[in-house]
Symmetry: C2
Subunit: 354 residues, 2 copies
DNA sequence: TTGTACGCGTTATCAT
DNA sequence: ATGATAACGCGTACAA
């Protein structure tokens, strides 16, 4: 029975081993590792020792001293095209900075969010990126008070002193619904996200404002909550097409609900844009390949990620740490495709288009 | 100038603070935190102290003692539907275990992979999940030798003693191409992923075997490397439709390339399945909503994630640590949709379908 | 059951 | 520029 018995991982070389082998003090090695000037001869010895020993700096131990982990927390809500895309861009964008994302998924319940926040606090992440949830306001406040910068994107939380990176939900929705009006639609429905979320409210408000600004009323029957989900979009669309007077156009407030809506339309043999015009928040490559092409609001995902990354860089620097909160609003593109078409005159419905 | 001047983060309460306030020794608090039996009165004191002080166990310091970070490394290749989906499922699946994913993105060059591996070693991840790259064989070997379990998915690396979770690339490709043959196609092209990757080779081999098993030769002109990328799929499809004798069916080896191919077909006004049958590796919701529906091989993403998670759980347990490598191969579903249709007889090409 | 004291690997503060 | 040494917060033998 040797000494290495049931030692799960071979003990990696430490800075002490390197110092011993190089014949210098550990302080010297530490300084070398952190880029301080080192006498030529010592430097060579150290580099050689590191090479031979296969030494790698222990980031955990370093973090304990410096209170810097180089780990950024990323709290992910239930799956969605947008959040996944942001995660993807973020981890790429942050790579050069030597930081990485610690990804944690929460479910909808707020107990799960508190648990996630505790996890991040415990792991001493340098800062935290999350899509807001109003219920999390108090835990977030505590996090910030404890010195952890928080960056909110996608969805806002009122009354917390944090950085914010959002897109112009209201204005973009206004523009795309205005487009529907421009091409003759007046019976325009809205499949909304949760009104509980700022993004859900704002996209609805853009829709409502577009109608009102053109002198139309919002018909409550045309506003259906799809709860951001594919199933919600599906049943919302079912209700819409089953109405005595179905809308001639639909604005769907996110990708998932649009997919659900398209699903129902397909099952019912309804054609876009012949039977219905459709516009969606969120754009994906396949929307351009859809038979007609789906008109969509493209969120600037890459720009969101870059902005977040640069805020992090700023907060991690000595000068930017106490800067007042950033409050950034990014523009969206409206991509017009074939799914939105000039409304047929009422008495031409059901007849060929030309 | 107060003492709190330029102290970036308020010092969080430590186990010592808790012990002091509760009037017990730190050992007692530590034992309480780790679920050992504690005398009733002390327990109450401790819980109260924790509550008042807002104490959170410092996972960094704990990791230093236990050599357990509860952080799992996840090395992500350039963007792809599949990898993103795995990441998504993984982080969800792992949540109950109290572990989270540290996500790091590499670019294609292998220097970037070494750098990533160093990063994970430095951060002392409990284990590492990655899609293999043959170039990374030696660094991976060192990682494993150092005691860090590695789990490969999607793409294999020969000659490394690690756990493997793959899908039946060859068999699934064989089945879907056999389907194309069954419905009368003989001029079947393959837009392949990189032959440098095991997944790329295996999918191609499934294609080739299907042809051979039915007595057909593989026509090299019909095999085009799309390098996994959308642009690759686009130009591959361009070459195919430009041929004197274009194929009547195409098997596209991943999602990105299928999107590129569809893009080109749309631009050229070519219709599926009238002008071409198409089958794709990787399935996404929108494939079912495509005009015709895209026949696809659905990888069991959730199953992959669950399997990986359970292997991790096993490796982290005392008994499973020295278990011999897992080698798991998961089944795919072939989803038949409208994009694959019985081949028209040669002399009916270009004429109306009925 | 509880208290004490040491060590994990690194950085930072001293002198030198 | 370098060497010695004290922390950082926690877990855990060991003694009580």
């Amino acid at each position: 029975m040797t000494t290495s018995d049931n030692i799960p991982r071979r003990r990696p070389a430490t800075i002490v081993d390197v110092a011993d082998r190089a014949g210098v003090a550990i302080g010297t090695v530490s300084r070398y590792l952190n880029g301080h000037p080192i006498r030529r001869g010592n430097r060579d010895q150290i580099e050689q020792a590191i090479e031979v020993l296969g030494y790698r700096r222990n980031a955990v131990a370093a973090a304990m001293k410096t209170d810097l982990t180089n780990v950024v927390g990323f709290l992910v809500p239930p799956p969605s095209e947008f959040h996944t895309a942001v995660l993807d861009h973020l981890s790429r964008t942050m790579r050069p900075s030597g930081r990485a994302l610690l990804t944690y998924c929460h479910t909808v319940d707020d107990a799960s969010i508190v648990e996630a926040l505790d996890f991040f606090v415990g792991h001493r992440v340098d800062c935290l990126i999350m899509s807001g949830e109003q219920e999390a306001a108090e835990p977030i406040r505590q996090l910030v008070a404890g010195g952890t910068p928080v960056i909110l994107y996608d969805n806002d939380v009122r009354g917390v002193p944090v950085d914010r990176v959002f897109v112009e939900n209201r204005a973009a929705s206004f523009r795309v619904v205005s487009h529907l009006i421009d091409i003759g639609h007046t019976e325009i429905a809205c499949v909304t996200g949760s009104m509980h979320d700022s993004a859900g409210r704002e996209r609805y408000e853009g829709y409502a404002q577009a109608l009102k600004s053109r002198g139309f009323e919002v018909d409550p029957a045309y506003v259906i909550d799809g709860d951001w989900k594919e199933t919600g979009g599906y049943s919302a669309m079912l209700r819409l097409v089953s109405m005595d007077k179905p809308p001639t156009a639909v604005f769907s407030c996110n990708y998932n609900m649009t997919v659900g809506g398209l699903q129902l339309l397909k099952e019912h043999g309804l054609k876009i844009p012949d039977d219905l015009s459709l516009a969606s928040f969120d754009d994906v490559p396949l929307f351009s390949l859809h038979e007609a092409g789906i008109t969509a609001v493209a969120q600037p995902v890459a720009k969101v990620a870059e902005t977040i990354a640069s805020i992090i860089a700023s907060r991690m620097s000595a000068t930017g740490a106490h800067h007042e909160p950033h409050n950034i609003m990014l523009n969206c593109d409206i991509i017009l495709r074939g799914s939105t078409r000039r409304r047929l005159t009422p008495n031409s419905i059901g007849q060929p288009d030309r």
